[in-house]
């Protein structure tokens, strides 16, 4: 059964077209309507290149990554943020506002530099 979801907002460029129809079958996107070339391609292949399935960690950048769980990876990140003298948090432009709020609050707590793609 193909389900059609209407009035979807396209999260792939600053136009945020809000009239996209997305066809979904068995939790997979099988088609779109109204989206442009970029939007369509991204909805169809949003999983893109290589998608990670679990958090990865390594002490030394020359080593290979080892799999880990979210709790450990995030705790280690929190420790790095807290111990750093001048931590930089950069990006933020492809996550939603609620996540941005939590991320920025983290930056305020640790005293970081917060910057996004608008400045480059």
């Amino acid at each position: 059964m193909v389900e059609v979801i209407k009035n979807v907002v396209c999260p792939f460029c600053g136009c945020l077209c809000d009239d996209i129809e997305v066809m979904v079958e068995n939790n997979h996107i099988v088609g779109t309507k109204n989206a442009c070339r970029i939007g369509h391609a991204k909805f169809m292949h949003f999983e893109g290149a290589v998608r990670y399935t679990e958090p990865l960690m390594r002490e030394n950048k020359k080593d290979d990554f080892k799999k880990t769980d979210y709790e450990t990876a995030i705790e280690e990140t929190a420790r790095l943020l807290v111990e750093s003298k001048l931590p930089l948090m950069y990006g933020f432009s492809s996550i939603d506002c609620n996540a941005q709020h939590a991320a920025i609050s983290t930056g305020i707590e640790v005293g970081a530099i917060l910057d996004n793609t608008a400045s480059v």
């Binding site: 709790e71 506002c97 530099i113 608008a118």
Partner: protein, 309 residues
């Protein structure tokens, strides 16, 4: 930066669709980067006062290259690369009625400059959209500064607005949220316990290129592919954490990778359109098993950070 020093006239894309009759694209190529921008909002869209769509609008494209967008323009102002500041200065002079003693400025014949300014002056509702071509060329945010001054000048004749063409879908959202929380739109330095803002000193590229930052958290951005070499070299030296669903050149040089779901596809949320209109994102498929959302990750990080401090 320029924006906070002066302020500038804004409008929504809906208003631009209904009213704008002169449209300038400066250093952007919407046909490729924002494919539906012209059709839905700026050029071809049939608006309330612009029923005939494209026929009711004059399109000026300012770009050193003959882009596909420039090919559709009524006037293509083909300036020499990196001469944006010079050209806008000349436009402001033309607007004030000064005579030029040269034949061309920034590679553009003065007749073209006069023609473009006449078109802008006679507009009922003009709109300037600018892109990376302006902010990435020599002068950077100073180019935006002077473009704003041009818009202010034009507003003594008619109504004219200006809008940056945002690439990533929620650039504006970050600027909104961080302004709400710290008072500044980007490049905020909180390391002294209070917010400071001084682009050229406190932006990501500044602290990376000067080698000052000693840890970086990179959130769904491929800085490893887009930053200058010197910045990337420093990123490779310091502890680097990436929150990103995908493998990218940045994750390749990181110590920790935290994958997340896709907002707007696998989770809902809110994003700000380039004109500052917030829209509700929709979830269309489920998050893959075991993957946390961006919000889960940062909520947990905030909790842990608070415990450690």
């Amino acid at each position: 930066m320029a924006v906070q020093e002066i302020g500038y006239p804004v409008c929504t894309l809906g208003e631009a669709k209904s009213r704008s009759d002169v449209v300038i694209f400066w250093g952007c190529n919407p046909i490729h980067a924002h494919p539906r921008h012209m059709g839905r909002y700026s050029i071809y869209a049939r608006g309330f006062f612009r029923e005939r769509g494209r026929n009711d609008r004059t399109v000026i494209v300012v770009d050193p290259r003959k882009t596909d967008t420039a090919k559709l323009a009524d006037v293509h102002v083909q300036l020499e690369p990196h001469k944006d500041y010079e050209l806008v200065s000349a436009m402001r002079a033309a607007l004030r009625g000064y005579e030029f003693e040269v034949d061309s400025v920034a590679g553009v014949p003065v007749e073209t400059i006069y023609e473009a300014m006449d078109l802008c002056k006679s507009a009922q509702f003009g709109q300037l959209y600018f892109g990376m071509g302006v902010t990435m060329s020599k002068g950077r945010h100073r180019n935006v500064d002077i473009a704003i001054n041009l818009i202010i000048d034009l507003n003594t004749y008619t109504k004219f607005g200006l809008m940056p063409m945002r690439g990533h879908y929620n650039v504006n959202g970050f600027n909104q949220v961080v302004t709400w929380l710290t008072g500044y739109p980007f490049g905020v330095d909180l390391t002294r316990g209070y917010p400071r803002y001084n682009p050229g000193e406190t932006c990501a590229n500044d602290v990376l290129q000067r080698g000052e930052t000693d840890m970086m958290l990179n959130i769904a951005a491929d800085s490893g592919a887009h930053f200058p070499q010197k910045a990337i070299e420093h990123m490779a030296k310091i502890p680097l954490v990436c929150v990103d669903p995908h493998q990218t050149p940045t994750t390749e040089i990181s110590n920790i990778v935290i994958p997340t779901s896709f907002s707007g596809v696998e989770t809902g949320g809110v994003a700000y359109r380039m004109d500052g209109v917030p829209l509700e994102l929709k979830k269309v498929v489920d998050v893959p098993e075991g993957i946390w959302t961006d919000k889960d990750v940062f909520d947990y990080m905030l909790k842990k950070v608070k415990e450690m401090l």
